[in-house]
């Protein structure tokens, strides 16, 4: 039982914290968002230089061989800075799918370029109507000689408009909600037959609706078993959720700090409003919610690498429930305690609130995971 970081982890934390503190203030973020891809290529290159894009990859693929704790450190710092660059879509999701599902050749081709900041990735998974069920896939992949032909529509593909490569779930067999018969395909985002409609998201990032119209994929474009990709997708979704928990923690810590600073400075009736007990108790309740979220982030981080899929799934589901609930509570309190400025675009707290709110809809909201957890028999099974 040990909650301390190793020396290497502490160094990583110091460097990413410093980068966010020095380069990622609120005004810079607004500037990055208005660049053509909706994020800063320059900052992305800096992430690469610091090795942040290499964190989870093996050394032979240009990585630094970090685990869930290293990812947590980076994601938490990015949450505090409200970073808009495609870290989740490229490194955690795309990189994770390749790491767990890709062939040696695929990994060797893509991962070093990801780590170097030269290639960005996006995960085309959600469909209209699939909601949070990873197995609900209507997009088809039809075998054609040695290769495959993709047809279908994917939605809210995070950073899908700027990504160089797409990872796509598509059905190779079975019916729409079967767990079997799902394949995972790696395609060039500019391949013929792909059309992408990009748009800004509520939380300051970008996403795309992507349609696949007879898109040809070569035999080297399928990851692993063409009918058995769901297990890899679930594993990577669990890792993504752990990273989202850490990002949320960074966001919540920042929301607490901004709020406390605000109520210590803002004066009404001749005194700082933070001297009022009604406000103090709201702030104290934020602390309680955040500490519970911190604990579950650690738990999710510890369990993200667990090989027993059922144990991992229930732990990750529990963490997402806690993050969803804490995040909603903390965000709403933070806005309320800021008063009017809390609902303005020019003040940062509202932007933290928006990102926090949208994280709940990523890979299943609190209700979704609560019912998953309950169906699976809960967290404390008979010892």
């Amino acid at each position: 039982m040990d909650f301390d970081l190793s020396d290497e982890q502490r160094l990583l934390k110091e460097s990413v914290d410093r980068l966010v503190a020095d380069r990622y203030d609120f005004e810079s973020r607004n500037r990055f968002r208005s660049e053509p891809d909706g994020f800063s290529r320059e900052i992305w290159a800096q992430f690469a230089e610091l090795g942040l894009l290499a964190v989870p990859f093996a050394e032979e693929h240009g990585g630094i061989g970090g685990g869930p704790v290293e990812t947590m450190i980076v994601a938490e710092a990015f949450g505090r800075g409200l970073v808009v660059e495609p870290y989740l879509s490229t490194v955690i999701l795309g990189g994770g799918l390749l790491r767990h599902g890709g062939s040696e050749a695929q990994k060797a081709e893509i991962l070093p370029a990801v780590a170097a900041g030269e290639t960005t990735l996006a995960f085309a998974q959600v469909e209209r109507g699939s909601r949070y069920d990873l197995f609900d896939v209507a997009t088809t992949a039809r075998q054609d000689g040695e290769g495959w032909i993709l047809n279908g529509e994917k939605g809210v593909v995070l950073h899908g408009d700027s990504a160089d490569r797409l990872l796509v779930t598509a059905r190779t067999g079975g019916s729409r909600r079967d767990r079997h018969g799902i394949g995972l395909f790696l395609v060039d985002a500019k391949a013929p037959g792909i059309s992408r409609r990009g748009y800004p998201t509520q939380d300051g990032m970008r996403a795309a609706e992507i349609s696949f119209d007879n898109v040809r994929v070569g035999p080297d474009g399928v990851l692993g078993d063409p009918g058995g990709a769901l297990l890899v997708v679930e594993r990577v979704a669990d890792e993504a959720i752990a990273a989202l928990c850490a990002e949320s923690l960074g966001i919540m810590d920042r929301m607490r700090d901004l709020t406390v600073e605000y109520i210590k400075t803002r004066k009404q009736f001749g005194v700082a409003i933070g001297s009022f007990q009604a406000l103090q108790h709201r702030a104290a309740d934020m602390v309680v919610a955040i500490e519970q979220a911190r604990s579950m982030t650690y738990f999710a981080t510890m369990m993200a690498g667990e090989d027993n899929a059922a144990e991992r799934a229930s732990a990750i589901a529990a963490a997402k429930v806690q993050i969803g609930r804490s995040g909603r509570f903390v965000g709403q309190q933070a806005v309320q305690l800021h008063g009017g400025v809390g609902v303005t675009m020019e003040y940062s707290i509202g932007h933290y609130f928006k990102r926090m709110t949208m994280i709940d809809t990523a890979f299943g909201d609190a209700d979704h995971h609560l019912s998953r957890l309950a169906e699976g028999g809960g967290l404390f099974k008979a010892a």
């Binding site: 039982m1 103090q280 108790h281 702030a283 809960g378």
Partner: protein
């Protein structure tokens, strides 16, 4: 960072669990599971079993009978004790007055009292709260006036848990009425057999009697029973309350309650199905489990930080433990109430635990009778030990600097 227990810690857990299995009377365990009270003698006997094993006061310094366990081992022991469930040694002795005596007491006090606490030769109760001094404890009025070799104590204490069994009471008394309120308080040990002490029971809404009022009318206490220095009692009280808060999350208790809820929800039915299959019910249950898992990790974070924390300074995070821990304990009592349904209604005053049980069969299922009383009784947990509102004040001040 590795949040798993080491193989040695897991082996220790098995050793503790095995000892409870082999040494705790199954009938006493069954009483606890059913939510019934146990008798004074049962607790004394069990404490002596633990003490004979050397586990009576595990967290005390080794020279006073402690085990030298790491903070993690202490945590595992306590969690196992609560989750088994086995009766916890009386907190007023082992967690409250004991540490005050070995930290601030005289040599005579240490030699006389500490072994008697560990072996439960004395039953202790706590004389802090007064009718006019609840959350504002330092406003207490019970006074002690020095007359030669004695203090003469007059006043009233209240909410005195299990004073009806007590041999001794540790009291905060005012020895300097002129000083600032925190600075005129002393810490006295008082023999409950001293003339002038009257105990009056207070019945709580569950129908039980576990708290009392204690009246002091010209009670003569030898000056040798003063702990530490006169007028420094508030410092000792703060030390004591800090210790009280470290175990306030009671994770093991809630784990045991959730296990019980699952067990009973598999028996009780909604329509054709066991309650545990009802989606609404099981999601409510899962939501409490999530909070409890988070609390457990929060508790372990506090335990892990103990290595580096200054002695006697409570972690402000323990206020988080108090708030969440009490809320979760209360939620488990609500869930049990949901499970039992209409048979929560019959009111059967619990016979005195020392008296012979009657031969009358219980009304309704035999697990039902304690459920509503426990729900009613456990409203206390967000009130005692510094109410949850006081904890929010501590967080606002000590953590947020408001």
């Amino acid at each position: 960072m590795d949040l798993r227990f080491t193989p040695e810690e897991n082996a220790f857990r098995q050793e503790v669990r095995g000892f409870f299995r082999d040494n705790l009377d199954p009938a006493l365990r069954a009483k606890l599971v059913a939510g019934h009270h146990f008798s004074k003698q049962e607790l004394v006997d069990w404490t002596r079993v633990l003490n004979a094993k050397g586990w009576g006061v595990p967290h005390w310094p080794v020279e006073h009978g402690g085990t030298g366990w790491t903070p993690v081992q202490q945590y595992i022991f306590l969690e196992e004790l609560q989750a088994f469930p086995a009766p916890a040694p009386l907190a007023f002795g082992v967690n409250m007055v004991g540490p005050v005596i070995y930290t601030f007491g005289s040599e005579e006090q240490k030699t006389h009292f500490l072994p008697r606490i560990a072996n439960m030769d004395d039953w202790w109760c706590q004389g802090f709260s007064e009718p006019g001094s609840g959350s504002d404890l330092a406003s207490l009025k019970t006074k002690a006036v020095r007359e030669g070799d004695h203090y003469v104590v007059n006043g009233q204490k209240t909410w005195t848990t299990l004073a009806q069994h007590a041999d001794w009471i540790f009291c905060l008394v005012r020895t300097d009425p002129a000083a600032k309120k925190q600075e005129g308080i002393s810490f006295l040990l008082i023999d409950m057999k001293t003339p002038g002490i009257t105990v009056r029971p207070i019945q709580t809404i569950d129908g039980g009697v576990e708290v009392n009022e204690v009246f002091f009318d010209d009670v003569r206490v030898p000056v040798g029973n003063l702990v530490g220095q006169e007028n420094k009692g508030w410092d000792y009280a703060k030390f004591l309350l800090g210790n009280e808060r470290t175990n306030i999350a009671r994770v093991g208790v809630s784990k045991e309650r959730l296990r019980r809820i699952r067990e009973l929800a598999a028996i009780e039915r909604i329509g054709e199905e066991p309650m545990i299959r009802n989606p609404r019910f099981r999601e409510k249950l899962a939501a409490v489990e999530v909070e409890l898992k988070a609390l457990e990790m929060t508790q372990l974070r506090v335990v892990a930080a103990e290595r580096t924390r200054e002695k006697g300074k409570p972690d402000p995070a323990s206020s988080v433990l108090k708030i969440k821990g009490s809320e979760i304990q209360q939620m488990t009592t609500e869930l049990l109430l949901d499970v039992v349904g209409p048979y929560a209604l019959p009111y059967a005053p619990e016979p005195d635990a020392d008296a012979h049980l009657s031969n009358e069969p219980p009304i309704g299922p035999d697990w039902a009778s304690s459920v509503a009383p426990t729900y009613f009784n456990w409203r206390k947990v967000s009130i005692y030990g510094g109410s949850n509102e006081i904890q929010r004040q501590i967080i606002a001040k000590a953590i947020l600097g408001l």
